[in-house]
Amino acid sequence: MIEFDKVNFAYEHGETVINDLSFRIGDGESVGLIGANGAGKSTIMKLLLGLLAPQSGRILVDELAVGKKDLEAVRKKLGFVLQNSDNQMFMPTVFEDMMFAPLNYMISREEAEKRVHGVLEKLGLQYLKYKYNHKISGGEKRMAAIATVLAMEPEAILMDEPTSALDPYNRRIVINTIKDLTQTKIITSHDLDMIMDTCSRVILLSDGQIAADGETMDILSNRELLEANHMELPLSLQKR
């Protein structure tokens, strides 16, 4: 369970980004965080991961407060797929990148290798195992980045624009992969069609507050609501 309770956050230069925000995400839920640029989506992710600290309010992950005391335990529960996979894949090969987190969490090398094999097999990425990160394509890198996070066996997966800069074929592969994940998912994206395919619930943000929270189709088919928040209907719902 992930909970934001009256969270407020402003950057040092004073601009308030998150304004008295409260919501709960249950285990196994798939939630899309959408909103215009600057609505606070990425900030929510950073707050949840403990990369930023709120000025007030509290954030809980499975009853653990996101703060100095339990930060390591919280981070162990959360896997984060960055928008720019180049920043996520810093080891020489895909295999070493996937081993990075399990070994840091003191899992034996044998067990970690088992995990990595399992994830690669599940995602059909065995062919990438010993490939050098600087030699794989953007689509492969994105899939490998998801694999590195799955190798952590997190309870919840956070994704920042997982389909950005991908061609339609690779985008579909990523969407199908996300759909198959059983963990709690929080996805921020402007790709509303992808959100429609992968999330059962959507939280629409505006100026650091919740403008709407509900079932995906209810929100994504509401033209007035979306347009009032600088968005538009998903392409698949737009009349030609």
């Binding site: 390591e72 984060f80 020489p92 990075f100 987190a101 840091n104 600087h134």
Partner: protein
């Protein structure tokens, strides 16, 4: 592919070299690190006029390059920017030290020339040994070895992040250089008027990316330990390699091998 992208590809190839399989690659990282440090210290300890004494020190890197399957030319190619700087060390010695030291036929060689050559060789040998270490050992394993030798974690992390930062900065530089040239066709290099903003932007952009990269490390359990680094345990053959290498360096340092070999013929 612009120059920066080529540099980036070369950085990537360093990782590939370090992942190869050879007897040298399979040695324990600490053994390699210590032997390299000892080699460098030995090379540096030679007197500036001891040209004949230092030449046999070349045998160790040549042998190790052979064993590792890495071509020495690769080393000189990768270090082509640094080598001239190293070679330039002592370049003025012949001007300041004109005392005759050696006579070969009618040619008199001054102490300055000898010391210049010795300094050049010292620099080249040290670079060869350092390159060999990096080309046969993953960088994370070197950092893990440093930690095992109780080098402060802050220092080791700084070293690791600098290594990662070079790649990030080069990537950003490649993107910015492309963007610049697309809007300044026909211009060679970057005009001096744009240097300030270009460098400022480069710094800001690469810092942003470096921060994200570090965050990605933290979020996957990194806390200044190197549990994830590939570790080959220190075995008997590593000890033998370390002791053998060091003994070889000491032997060359104590006995002028060139003079001994020369003595056989004269």
């Amino acid at each position: 592919m612009n120059k920066m992208e080529k540099a980036l590809a070369e950085l990537g190839r360093m990782d590939e070299l370090a992942m190869q399989e050879s007897p040298v690659h399979k040695l324990n990282a600490t053994a390699k690190l210590l032997s390299t440090v000892f080699y460098i210290l030995t090379v540096m300890s030679f007197d500036k006029y001891d040209l004949s004494g230092i030449i046999p020190m070349l045998l160790w890197p040549v042998f190790m390059y052979q064993m590792s399957g890495i071509n020495i030319r690769t080393c000189f190619y990768k270090l082509r920017i640094v080598l001239p700087l190293v070679m330039a060390v002592g370049i003025f010695n012949p001007l300041f030290d004109r005392e005759p030291m050696l006579q070969i036929g009618s040619i008199t060689i001054s102490g300055g020339v000898i010391s210049m050559l010795t300094l050049m060789l010292k620099g080249v040998f040290c670079l060869m040994a350092s390159f060999l270490l990096v080309a046969t050992t993953p960088f994370d394993s070197i950092c893990a070895s440093l930690r095992r030798m109780h080098v402060p974690s802050m220092l080791v992390t700084l070293l690791l992040l600098t290594y990662r930062y070079v790649g990030v900065m080069t990537e950003e530089l490649a993107i910015m250089t492309d963007a610049y040239h697309l809007r300044a066709p026909g211009q060679k290099g970057i005009h001096v008027s744009a240097w300030g903003s270009f460098l400022g932007q480069l710094l800001l952009r690469s810092m942003d990316r470096a921060q994200e990269l570090y965050a990605s490390m933290l979020l996957r359990g990194y806390h200044q330990h190197f549990h994830y680094a590939y570790h080959i345990p220190f075995r008997g053959k590593d000890a033998a390699y370390l002791i053998g290498s060091c003994a070889f360096f000491v032997l060359i340092k104590w006995f002028d091998v060139s003079q001994l070999i020369g003595g056989l013929f004269v």
